[in-house]
Amino acid sequence: MTAAPRHGSTLTGTAQLLRLVLRRDRVRMVIWVVAVVSLVALSAASVVGLYDTAESLASYANLVRDNAAMIVQSGPGHGLDDPTVGAVLINEMSIWSVIAVALMSIFMVTRHTRTEEETGRSELVRAAPVGRHAAATAAMTGVLIANVAMAVGVTISLIVFDLPVAGSIAFGGALIGAGMMFASVALVAGQVASSARAANGSAAAVLGVAFALRAAGDVGDGRLSWLSPIGWAQAVRAYADERWWVLLLPVVASIGLIVTADSLTSRRDLGAGLIAQRPGPAHAGPRLSSAVGLAARLHRGSIIGWSTGLAAVGFFYGVVAVEAESLLTDNPEMADFFAQLGEGTLTDAFVATAALMLGLVASGYTVSAVLRLRGEETDGRVESVLSAPVARRTWMGGHLLVALVGSVLVIGAGGLAMGLGFALASGDAGELLRVLGATVTMVPAMLVLGGLAAALFGVLPRWALVAWAGLAVAAVVGLLAELIGLPNWMRDISPFTHLPALPAAPFEVLPLVMLTAVAAALAAIGLAGLQRRDLT
């Protein structure tokens, strides 16, 4: 009988792999950390400046505290009964900073575990004297370093703006907890899912469910929020009588997930998930006979995945939107506030905001769909297609066409579900089309972001990933422009700024035409660029 391997041996090589992780991610990590820390700092500066009197704090609290629609978007509003600047700030920025740290952690873990296996690079590594757990440990440690760096930056910048030290540390800790929690989720997803793409998708779906659970909990009696890691981050109650023990929840849950991932690892092969690959057909179906047909097939899975996700979020928003209206009667101050805006009812304003949210999320599909072109090129699959009698513009045009149709389907699914939720909750079927219209209006702005990706791919392929920065800018403008007080010219950079905020604002056709024209021009630049460059 052979001796059991010492446990330490499965970790051999972790230090070297960690250095590889940090070397490969040094730019990405810095971008994530700098972006989130500076947005937190901008938010803090703005909130500290805006809410400098007891009256302004009280009126903010009145607006937000009992409004279901606001609670869904931001959180339970701990500390708003006796509002402080810190409590206002947490209510404004905790949701998006937790989501940002979660996304960073999910992508990073998958990138260094499942993607490495899929590309075959980990075979090279595993053949060296490297333990079975070294890659996952190195990835998780790298994520921990990124999370800590982000949390330290956030905490320091909050303290710099004179916010209480204890609350600033508590919020930093909550960010690390949420980051590691979703990193662990991604680690488990990487064991179960059948591909890296599916691992990212299912971990992101868990994030979506966590958002929905806490939203439902925060609007209701709060119990559901305890099932959500996002809810935990807010239950730490930074600046509102901190509950430090809550920070232990993500620690315990992460350890549980890591142990689960570990036991799953030994039940699967390198490069395969627990969900086995089913055999495919021996012959291609009739639609798989052209470049466009291939593109449609390649995009099919992600269109279905994104549509399902958008539909779930949309349905939830639709149900909640009805709540927004009921508050008009019992909170006159808020009714006044929205009357000042002079644009429709409270419900309409909420629907417009929800439609913008859906549009931003759906743009994630649009950009990733266009960037698939670059993936096909760098992964060496394009030469099989282009060595057949297929013109470059046919190949690229096929992918762009599918990305266009997919974008309409994805946002349409979100809008339909939101309209359905609204109609069911309000009992007024007529609302369905109005809500659907408001969301589908987002399409031209989504296409501009897709067009940017196409132009970069055609002209500056090495910089194609910069297209994500376009979406990041649009998200910051769309969600934080008011909070951090962006000047108008900066808001105008985002294509979403130019859309009519249906149904709260009247419909205008000109901006939609203009945005579509810009998107088409960008796509044409991309097509022309591809026509004359080398394919790598």
Partner: protein
């Protein structure tokens, strides 16, 4: 004889790297042409220029009487390509990829496809994600060989195949040749090229260093011989073209230039041959010897006129 491929003085740079530095290549219609060179010599870059994936900086390239960059789509109707590193869509099955690529070229010959799949022992129902390198190469080979095209461009097509499948592959190429198709076969395995090719072009560091028939290149190749003899061998080192003679207890070993093989073996027979082992020359040895440390790249005397 008309030319399927005609390349002269082709230059391609990537930044400061000169991948192709005045490369020449002539492939006649109907021949199987070996395209040889060590790793990084520029074989794949040349092929990618021929496929219109890369644009040459200068020089002249004609493929099937067309311009590989401008007329790419039209030319691709008449050729099929197997990349050296076959990458396929992970979530499509092998059979789907074969059908797709064949249809892009204008249609599937179902009988030919099934025959090729059977001879290569390929399971077309597996997802490409689960295929080994050799199996991915089989998928690309089936797609390329099941279409009736004039020209096959094969970039190190057997690098992932086992010896049994290599011989199946060689049958395919001989069949294609019998059907009158032109084949450009890039390789760094001299033995494979010797079995299949009418003529070869050898490149190194982006330039053509040798071209001609294998017989014409024979003087470049050196065979290693080990023989056991009844009497000790004498006088071998005085023969022309014999190198590195070593005698050891009734055995003699030496290298001999291809052109002088006959004389050397004749000499051996005088001493009563009991055993004889000859090892064919390898491309690696050829390169080591002719283009080793102090190399005169593009030695004009060595380049045979086409």
């Amino acid at each position: 004889m008309s030319q399927a491929i005609s390349i002269s003085n082709l230059v391609k740079t990537f930044g400061s790297t000169r991948a192709l530095d005045g490369l020449d290549l002539e492939v006649s219609t109907g021949e199987v042409h070996g395209f040889l060179g060590p790793n990084g010599a520029g074989k794949t870059v040349t092929i990618r220029i021929l496929l219109g994936l890369l644009r040459a900086d200068s020089g002249h390239a004609v493929l099937l009487d067309g311009d590989p960059w401008v007329d790419a789509v039209e030319l691709h109707r008449r050729l099929a390509y197997v990349p050296g590193d076959v990458n396929l869509w992970p979530n499509l099955s092998g059979g789907e990829v074969i059908d797709l690529l064949s249809r892009l070229r204008g249609g599937v010959d179902a009988a030919r496809r099934d025959e090729l799949i059977e001879r290569l022992v390929l399971d077309p129902r597996k997802k490409c994600r689960t295929y080994s390198k050799g199996n991915r190469q089989k998928v690309a080979l089936v797609a390329a060989l099941s279409s009736h095209v004039e020209l096959l461009v094969l970039d190190e097509p057997t690098s992932g195949l086992d010896p049994l499948m290599e011989s199946v592959f060689q049958e395919f190429i001989l069949e294609a040749k019998a059907e009158g198709r032109t084949v450009l076969l890039s390789s760094h395995i001299l033995a494979e090229v010797e079995k299949l090719c009418d003529r070869v072009t050898i490149i190194r560091q982006g330039r053509t260093v040798q071209r001609g028939t294998l017989a014409e290149l024979r003087h470049l190749t050196r065979t290693s011989i080990t023989a056991g003899t009844e009497r000790p061998v004498e006088g071998l080192d005085t023969l022309a073209g014999v190198h590195d003679v070593g005698v050891d207890d009734g055995h003699v070993s030496f290298d001999v230039d291809g052109a002088e093989l006959d004389g050397a073996v004749r000499h051996l027979t005088q001493f009563g041959i009991r055993s004889l082992v000859s090892q064919p020359p390898t491309l690696e040895e050829l390169f080591l010897r002719h283009y080793g440390d102090d190399v005169v790249v593009g030695d004009d005397d060595a380049v045979d006129a086409p």
